[in-house]
């Protein structure tokens, strides 16, 4: 089985789905230009040679248009895979995603479907406030959308393929430091996990989380980059006798709640780690679920290790402070023992 980066796994997933179904196509900025980048993080690199420029469609810088075209094409029978170069630009197409894509099926009483995928890179990478945000929490609050957050190459390909086949609008959030993009598009300080990815067909079901590390003392839930931070923290915590269970939900909407409840009911402690502003972040929802559904099992306050309530600063010392660190996770976990 070949080893792949997340960028390669996504590319392979797109390739397989485009080969399988002629209604699948990609649209976005700079995704297929000859001699170009293959998207901001090389995910579509080379695909326009394989599939041509009609199916790897380079768009104007028009995010409303990209989303609108994807929605219209999807309602008329296609299966678009759209992308934005940075998740921050989803705000430019927010109406199309929140008011249109998410509501068409509902307003039509289930007679219209919008099978589209929107991919968005997130995470702070030294680019300042407008190329760094994590937008998951805005979209987990919009009924009608599904929201995915793959953190491994295996999940990236498997979830992308499931997303393309889903009959609903699906957002896939991808972390810039996990892509493993190469060459001129590589990211400084990237983690770039490489993993075994079957070349043959497989799907990762939407709505199933996974326990990345078993433990009996505390449950730590992370997503994307913070899954890795949590795992590193767990290893260090083990050395002082705290066995942390680390959960990667993989899908944010629909959420595998039972997996989390089970773990919390076992450990009695919950720490949530995300690279996003604290107030009204996704972690708030998990805390709210836990204090409702697991109240009688909780032995300590539910803690959130999030970014502070500030825009993302540029200078490295501040950005480092902004993103939840292994050290902060360890301290917070210790604080509830």
């Amino acid at each position: 089985m070949p080893k792949m980066t997340i960028a390669e796994a996504l590319r392979q997933g797109i390739r397989e789905e485009m080969q399988r179904d002629k209604c699948v196509f990609c649209l976005g900025e700079d995704i297929g230009v000859p001699g170009g980048f293959g998207g901001a993080f090389t995910v579509t690199l080379g695909l326009s040679d394989e599939f041509g420029h009609e199916r790897i469609l380079d768009t104007p810088i028009s995010e409303i248009g990209i989303a609108g075209v994807a929605i219209g094409a999807a309602m008329a029978g296609m299966r678009p895979i759209a992308d934005v170069q940075y998740g921050d630009f989803l705000f430019c197409m927010m109406d199309q995603l929140a008011n249109q894509a998410a509501k068409m099926t509902y307003m039509s009483a289930g007679t219209v479907k919008v099978p589209m995928v929107m991919r968005a890179p997130v995470g702070a990478t030294g680019r300042g406030s407008q190329h760094a945000q994590s937008l998951e929490a805005f979209f987990t609050h919009i009924p009608g959308l599904k929201v995915l957050a793959p953190s491994t190459a295996y999940d990236a390909k498997g979830l992308l393929k499931s997303a393309v086949r889903d009959d609903n609008p699906v957002l896939i959030f991808e972390h810039k430091l996990l892509y493993g993009s190469k060459g001129g598009r590589a990211e400084k300080g990237a983690l770039s996990p490489v993993g075994f990815v079957p070349e043959e067909e497989y799907l990762v079901p939407i709505g199933k989380g996974i326990v990345r590390r078993e433990g009996k003392d505390v449950t730590i839930v992370g997503k994307l980059l913070t899954v890795y931070r949590a795992l590193e923290a767990a290893d260090q915590l083990a050395q002082i006798g705290i066995e942390a269970e680390v959960i990667d939900p993989r899908t944010l909407i629909p959420l595998d709640k039972e997996l989390i409840y089970e773990s919390v009911r076992k450990t009695g402690r919950l720490v949530l780690v995300e690279e996003d502003n604290l107030t009204n972040g996704w972690a708030a929802e998990l805390a709210a679920l836990a204090v409702d559904e697991c109240f009688y099992w909780l032995d300590a306050p539910v803690k959130r290790v999030s970014a502070p309530d500030t825009p993302v600063p540029f200078a490295p010392p501040m950005e480092k402070f902004y993103v939840p660190s292994v050290q902060r996770i360890i301290e917070v976990v210790k604080s509830i023992f």
């Binding site: 002629k22 209604c23 196509f25 009609e54 469609l57 768009t59 104007p60 028009s62 995010e63 409303i64 248009g65 989303a67 609108g68 075209v69 994807a70 929605i71 219209g72 094409a73 999807a74 309602m75 008329a76 029978g77 296609m78 678009p80 109406d95 199309q96 008011n99 249109q100 068409m104 099926t105 509902y106 307003m107 039509s108 009483a109 289930g110 007679t111 219209v112 479907k113 919008v114 099978p115 009924p143 009608g144 599904k146 009959d167 609903n168």
Partner: protein, 325 residues
């Protein structure tokens, strides 16, 4: 611009007359029922603009697509959505075209190629480009048509959607119904240009203006535009000059315009104009026309009865249809 009526033939003329009258009666009755408190919510009526929806849709068949706006009843009827299901939707009944989920501003029926109407001004425009892209890919010969108002052409969505349709040479027709007002705001308050169609040039797109109260003129202009689109010759921005005879929504006293202006336009009522031509050039008799109108009235009263007698939605229906399938 308007071809001699013979070219089209009385059959076509009469069927367009029938649909225009259907829309008018539908809106008039809906307004009465709304005033009586039988229909909930708010309403944006299409009174006075019937020639646009009818003249354009007379060039479309079931598997061509249209997108619409907050003012969609006329588009829906012209595209062939059953008046029973529209009326029932306005009543919020389970038998409505959206099973009560959508309401007046979101009527549609994908079975006849109408997506749920979109009440975010301008948002339907790039979506139309997307549907047109799908036509190009998998429904050759089909077109996607977008209806929107003068005000909508000031939205960023208009700009992005038209440019994409132009550069990809998509089979789309963008029908701007310029009724001189965006809600209460006069055209001249938000445009320094004379005609919305001037904006087509900004995208290298063909722009045309037509008398939106002359259904034959609209029909012919839309015929050219849809034929071009079907033949792969690209999109058109078709501006139809027309007038909303009623208020913008609900009880709108229309204090922002003069009674004189309204009178001028009502003199050029599109249904009146067509009736006159049918009598003169088409040498139909007023009996022929009366017969059509009587039948329409019967149908509409039937739709009202159907709507009233249809079952209400269940509270728990709220939870269905968030996701497809």
């Amino acid at each position: 611009m308007a071809e001699p009526i013979e070219v089209l033939g009385n059959g076509k003329m009469l069927s367009m007359y029938r649909t225009m009258f259907m829309i008018r009666r539908f809106e008039d009755r809906v307004n009465e029922l709304y005033m009586q408190g039988q229909i909930p919510s708010t309403l944006h009526l299409y009174v006075g603009q019937e020639a646009v929806a009818v003249g354009v849709c007379a060039n479309l068949d079931k598997d061509d697509y249209i997108t619409s706006t907050h003012r969609p009843h006329g588009h829906a009827i012209a595209k062939g959505v059953s008046i029973k299901s529209i009326m029932a939707e306005l009543y919020g009944k389970k038998t409505g075209c959206c099973q009560g989920k959508g309401g007046s501003m979101h009527v549609g029926d994908i079975q006849v190629g109408m997506f749920p109407a979109i009440a975010i001004v301008g948002a339907n425009i790039p979506i139309t480009a997307g549907a047109a892209l799908a036509c190009k890919f998998i429904h050759p010969g089909k077109v996607a048509v977008s209806f929107f108002g003068d005000g909508a052409s000031n939205e960023g969505a208009f700009h992005e959607g038209l440019n994409m349709a132009a550069i990809w040479n998509l089979p789309a027709v963008f029908v701007c119904e310029n009724n001189l007002y965006a809600a209460s705001t006069p055209f001249t308050t938000t445009f320094k240009i004379k005609d919305v169609s001037e904006r087509a040039a900004a995208y290298g797109m063909l722009g045309e203006i037509v008398d939106g109260n002359d259904v034959i003129a609209v029909y012919n202009a839309a015929k050219k535009a849809t034929e071009r689109a079907r033949a792969g010759q690209g999109p058109t921005l078709l501006e139809c000059k027309t007038y909303r005879q009623c208020g913008h929504s609900r009880s709108d006293p229309r204090g922002y315009r003069t009674k004189e202006e309204e009178a001028e336009w009502i003199k050029r009522d599109p249904i009146l104009l067509l009736a006159e031509r049918l009598l003169s050039e088409g040498n139909e008799t007023s009996e022929d026309i009366k017969r059509i109108e009587d039948q329409v009235n019967v149908d509409i009263e039937g739709a009202i009865v159907f709507a009233k007698e249809s079952p209400d939605t269940e509270p728990s229906d709220t939870l269905q249809h968030v996701y497809y399938g």
